[in-house]
Symmetry: C2
Subunit: 338 residues, 2 copies
């Protein structure tokens, strides 16, 4: 049985979608035990509202939690018994195999840093995200690419970017079942000499070692295309790019509407298309995907979107199970070995 | 009469669109004299194909030119009589008031650096670009926002970003006729403390001086929305963001097509919409806009897109005329005064 510590507090929609997701998955035929970490009374009350298998859900009480607007480091200092710290400590103590949270991202990273060690060769951890692409990825035609870092480490050295490339490749191979994921550095041009000092340095390091399917630099245009399976960049850039992608499908749509609201045939076209556009929005909706890992700790951590619904939480719990089944951390250690 | 030095060589489509654009504008009622700089025989032959006013077009011969794939610095060393250097030298010597090129961007920046001085308070120049936004800008409802830097200076200090903010605001005020352009720093969060060291430092500098309509930090989402009139960032990020925007409208469209190619009503919807989508593509098509300035030299420089057609060149020449009429360089000096 795989034990998942689920930080059940502090998501945008409160604890309801988290508890509902846990309840749903407890009825599925998966080798999964969920430990709900948070206000035990409140969580128990919520759980009663949903059909579930009570033998597969446990509780660990944590009286406090970090809110989305809280400053992570100071809040963790102030609330040592908050749900995310308790959940991370549970994993570190062997009481669970993997940590899942839909709460304050900074708090998840800080709680990991306080409770876990970093893997050898990892100086900074990376927050991953998935983004929709035109080209499918891997044998299952996954419509998402992986990007890292998207905000854990704003500025990176060449060595740090190279470690991100290795970890992203390993995760993509295990979880997306891509044999040799195409790994690329996001830069301002395809040539090896293009980019900031750290990007040029990382390019040289990855070329020299030659252990990955490193396809070189890609440009901004390639991100929505999906030319690479794993896009590597500094957290500052990844964060900006990811948030732009979140908004840009709506932007294109609004532009089309604005330009042609007056013409009947365009209005008609938009009406007929609305189902298709909803599907585009679904594809660009992170809630559907469930989550993405924080890579670099000696325990697996899945960060679900703060706005996750029950279905997204269920997907995040499945993803967490996979990271344990596929021995993600052991594989990361092998990948990072000098 | 305003004299524009037009580097008439080295664009993606050769000299034809450049000469045609110059021919067209020579017939317009604008106070403009175009100096075509390049292979005089070839340009003369091309010009004969288009109706023009020969009293308003002159030639300065330059036997060589920089190609798109050439390394800028070494090629300028090797070809001191290339068209972009000759054109910049013509401006520096007083033979023309403003420089326009649709050639190799790096070569234009290097030629400027060799021929012009930088304005006081400017350590690095900025390449601007316009990008389509949902919200219109200024009194004329311009559907484009201004972004700088997009590739001239990959990494910037806080002082350099602050200087870019001042110059971008000044340009937007003069050319887009926006009284107090909303200037923002692109970052990973809205709070003043979010961002890399240089972004946080620039935020403090701009807040402290208080001379601009500085609206603080914006996030990736705000770029397609158009929340700011002037978006300020390091060149590495600006380049990635801009290229992503170029590709992303097509990406959304392909995604919609892919998901629903099988359904008749979606196919029909797309067919009806195709005019509207063409209009979106027009809006995201830089060729329509003409060009954007390189700011920081003591002479005005307009960089037109390499794929400019005759209409785009005509627009770039009009834009160049405006920078002289509105005394852009004098205004930049005032804006940059300590």
């Amino acid at each position: 049985m795989i034990r998942v510590a689920l930080d059940a507090m502090g998501a945008d929609g409160g604890s309801e979608p988290l508890v509902e997701g846990a309840a749903q998955i407890s009825l599925e035929d998966t080798p999964l035990q969920v430990v709900l970490v948070g206000d035990k009374d409140a969580l128990t009350t919520l759980l009663k509202r949903h059909r579930h298998d009570s033998t597969r859900i446990e509780f660990v009480h944590a009286p406090h939690h970090v809110r989305m607007a809280d400053k992570p480091a100071v809040t963790l200092d102030r609330l040592p018994d908050c749900s995310i710290l308790r959940a991370a400590e549970l994993v570190a103590a062997g009481g669970a195999d993997v940590l899942v949270s839909a709460g304050n991202t900074g708090a998840v990273i800080h709680a990991g840093a306080r409770s876990f060690a970093r893997l050898d060769g990892v100086r900074r951890v990376a927050l991953c995200a998935v983004h929709p692409t035109i080209e499918p990825h891997g044998p299952r035609g996954d419509p998402f690419g992986l990007m890292l870092d998207v905000g854990a480490t704003l500025e990176c050295s060449a060595e740090e970017l190279a470690a991100f490339a290795r970890m992203g490749s390993c995760y993509s191979r295990l979880v997306s079942h891509i044999d040799a994921p195409r790994v690329a550095l996001l830069s301002n041009g395809r040539e090896a000499t293009k980019g900031t000092e750290s990007v040029v340095g990382a390019h040289d390091l990855l070329r020299a070692k030659g252990d990955l399917n490193f396809t070189g630099n890609i440009e901004g245009l390639d991100v929505p295309l999906g030319t690479a399976d794993v896009v590597v960049c500094e957290g500052f850039i990844g964060n900006i790019v990811l948030k732009m992608l979140e908004g840009v499908a709506d932007a294109a749509l609004a532009l089309a509407r604005h330009a042609h609201a007056q013409k009947l045939r365009y209005r008609l076209g938009l009406a007929l298309l609305s189902g298709g556009l909803r599907r585009v929005r679904e594809l660009t909706d992170w809630k559907q995907y469930g989550g993405a890992p924080i890579l670099g700790f000696d325990y697996p951590v899945i960060k679900a979107h703060g706005r996750s619904n029950a279905r997204a939480i269920r997907n995040a719990l499945r993803l967490a199970t996979k990271t344990v089944q596929h021995k993600l951390v052991d594989e990361l250690k092998k990948t990072l070995a000098p």
